[in-house]
Subunit: 465 residues, 2 copies
């Protein structure tokens, strides 16, 4: 037993919302996972045996097969692959160089969805800008230029630095093209100083020219920055041969621990099965898959299963399009009302720091008691108005209460979306804490006699990154 | 003035070896550099304007031009490029993959000097071994196999972990070939977990087949290690197109602060101008070049120059062959006796921790007083029997007293010989401390009435990494 449980005789004065036997079981789940779980093993299999699994790629299909086989072998019921149709993009050759005032090699990677450059490459003078807003300054003329968005991401514990910086990646190409730029380079949205550039999706806009877009590693971005400061024109050439392929089938993989009394009511534990292609996706989102598989598996091993169904959903195509989240919403439309809670684990391998939540106001006393159960593994802080995660956003928008166990993200953006996202980065003991928090939460949500109040209509729209 | 200088009235009881006016000038040099020097500026120019400068490459020639121009512009006398002839090796395509039991991409880089693989690649089962010695075990059969040397380097402050691990890189290919292996992969000799493999020279042996040799990034080596543990045969395929080119001219670049009384006597401050090709060589050895250029430049700005000449030598081809060191030894044979001290700076950007030395025993009281002068910048610890550095080894072998300001090396092998060796890794304030130590030492060595006693014959052979 960890330190924060109250000793006998010091129980809270107000009657507990969570009945003692439910709390006891939740605490036992927490303690069991804290003492050591299999979460890292599922991450290792997915990373090392399947590897990169970009949506629509052969690796993605292999991941679906792995997930179906794993959930079946680990005792889940109703295991199935639920079809989704995904956009398909393939990375190709990607090279870059500074051609003036000095010749230097550049390490860069295409942003997901980028169009290719001409075969001979795209060469132009660069215009360095600190933000999307800077594009609009009257003194700025990007016509015929390559815009270099040099926006620095701040390292924060909660990942908020990412949210503040990522707009240049998502929208920089479209916004610069509108003003006549011929290409976009960004400083990776990242906190490291390795020559491992960070990819991530970029979104074009209908009716606007699609221009090639790539991320420079941070050291390469800082080289450009230093050369720009020397006040001579800086020219860059880069080659990308990435391209779109026809849409392809992929799938959300679903498995359940059926409820003993109300199996039609669902507590959804999500993560995403796809990854970027530069590495084996251990932290993004192998870790999340390992956490939710293991949390549900532990609940399935209880002597008495909870009242409601705990459903694991490993979503397809989270990284660029969310085809899986949309397909799930559509396929399960008739049972959306019966989703009593949804959670996604998609913040890597590090330890829990709290949890965000969004539900009707009458849920708060219960949430408060859940926080006390999660506190001993570091997850006790309550953060209101959470988004729940990218793949559960459509459920939140339908009023389904959402939760998200927050993780220390101070290291996550060193590796996120790079070649460095490999199994050696996984911290098994921190995954165990995540399993402890997620299994205890999911058990309470699945066992409480009354479900959480739905999210009020005015509170359903919030979107975090 | 920093804390360790003795207040008036507390002077040492025994008569000082270093006369007060010499000590005062040495301390003033130290304080000036400590307060801020131009060292990082020279590193920035060499890294950002010249970039990679593998021996015999166009970048190497550009570095020689830069060094000659820089030394001339910064007030050095007798600036010249002294010819050396270097072996030339060119990196090419380098790709790798695990083909069984699971398909996975591998990030690797050819070891310097490696022969290429067949054009279609080299594929074989791997045999994982922890050391060179393990090759000799009676149960080990590497015939027809790719030997995977999985030797872990320990992180240490003094770099000794490198010396203990690097033999598999230098000699693994030759030793494995002797036993019939067809290729060698090593875990990078490194302390990081980035997918930036560490190159470095490998040496073949006359009469033994030359087999291709490459370094895996640490995460890739650990992936192989995990798969080997699963007890199924692991097969790897890799492609290298690196090759030798005809020998080429390169040069040591020399510049001097001529002595006022005995200009024919020389205090040599060395660093190496060449770098590996994967990055811009900021820490290896742009940093050393910046330190010695700046230390000598500061001495040149004194109102009265020291008695002897301070000679900066930026050596060619340190990384794989030491053609520059050998050429210097040969070209300066007639004045070797007049070298009163030699030092090389080649341990990166971090702060000084002490200094190693090797000279005749009568030098020790003087060395002890030098240590007291260097202590306020962290360089006070005396380490006997130092090697002086790779490029001054031929001088040490001729009896020339050698010194080396040791640096904190705990971070150096995260970046050494990788694509990550870029200017953003430079810590200007730590370079300033190095300049403080090197300029104070060099001044004392150049100004003392009597030179250090030569190294006794029996103490000249020591070789560190």
């Amino acid at each position: 037993m960890l330190g924060l449980a109250l000793p006998a005789g010091l129980e809270p004065q107000t009657p507990a919302v969570i009945a003692p036997e439910i709390r006891k079981t939740a605490e036992a789940l927490r303690e069991k996972a804290f003492a050591g779980s299999q979460a890292a093993r599922w991450v290792e299999e997915l990373s090392d045996h399947v590897g990169p699994r970009l949506s629509g790629s052969p690796g993605d299909a292999a991941a679906v097969s792995w997930a179906v086989a794993t959930l079946k072998a680990r005792g889940f019921a109703n295991v199935r692959a639920e079809k989704a149709v995904t956009h398909v993009w393939k990375r190709g050759i990607e090279t870059g160089e500074i051609t003036a005032p000095f010749a230097q090699h550049l390490v860069l990677t295409a942003l997901g969805g980028s169009v290719p450059t001409p075969a001979e490459g795209l060469e132009a003078e660069i215009v360095e800008l600190p933000s999307l807003a800077a594009l609009e300054a009257p003194t700025v003329n990007v016509r015929g230029k390559i815009v270099f968005f040099d926006k620095k991401m701040e390292r924060t514990g909660d990942g908020s630095g990412y949210g503040a910086a990522v707009d240049v990646r998502s929208h920089g190409a479209a916004r610069a093209a509108k003003l006549g730029a011929v290409g976009v380079l960004i400083r990776s949205i990242a906190t490291d100083h390795n020559r491992t550039p960070h990819t991530g999706g970029t979104d074009y806009e209908a009716g606007i020219a699609k221009i090639p877009a790539a991320a420079l590693s941070v050291p390469d971005a800082e080289l450009l920055e230093r050369l720009v400061k020397e006040k001579k024109p800086v020219r860059v050439r880069f080659v990308l041969t990435c391209h779109d392929d026809p849409d392809a089938e992929t799938a959300n993989v679903v498995g359940e621990i059926p409820g003993r009394e109300r199996p039609e009511e669902i507590v959804l534990l999500g993560a995403h099965l796809d990854s970027w292609d530069l590495a084996t996706g251990a932290i993004d989102d192998g870790a999340g898959c390992g956490i939710v598989i293991e949390a549900a598996r532990q609940i399935g091993q209880l002597p008495r299963r909870p009242r409601r169904t705990v459903r694991v959903v490993l979503f397809a195509n989270e990284e660029h399009g969310q085809a899986g989240a949309k397909a799930y919403r559509q396929a399960h439309d008739s049972e959306i009302e019966r989703h009593v809670a949804a959670l996604e684990a998609d913040s890597g391998t590090d330890a829990p720091t709290g949890f965000s939540w969004n539900a009707g106001p009458t849920a708060e006393p219960l949430i408060r008691e859940i926080a006390a159960i999660l506190a001993p593994v570091g997850a006790g802080e309550m953060i209101p108005r959470g988004s729940g995660g990218t793949d559960v956003a459509p459920l939140r928008q339908a009023g389904v209460p959402v939760f998200s166990v927050r993780q220390d993200s101070s290291r996550y953006f060193d590796y996120h979306h790079t070649a460095n996202d490999t199994f050696d980065k996984i911290v098994p003991a921190s995954l165990d804490r995540m399993v402890a928090a997620v299994s205890a939460f999911a058990y309470v949500a699945a066992e409480m006699p009354e479900p959480f109040e739905k999210i009020p209509a005015e509170a359903r729209k919030k979107d975090e990154w």
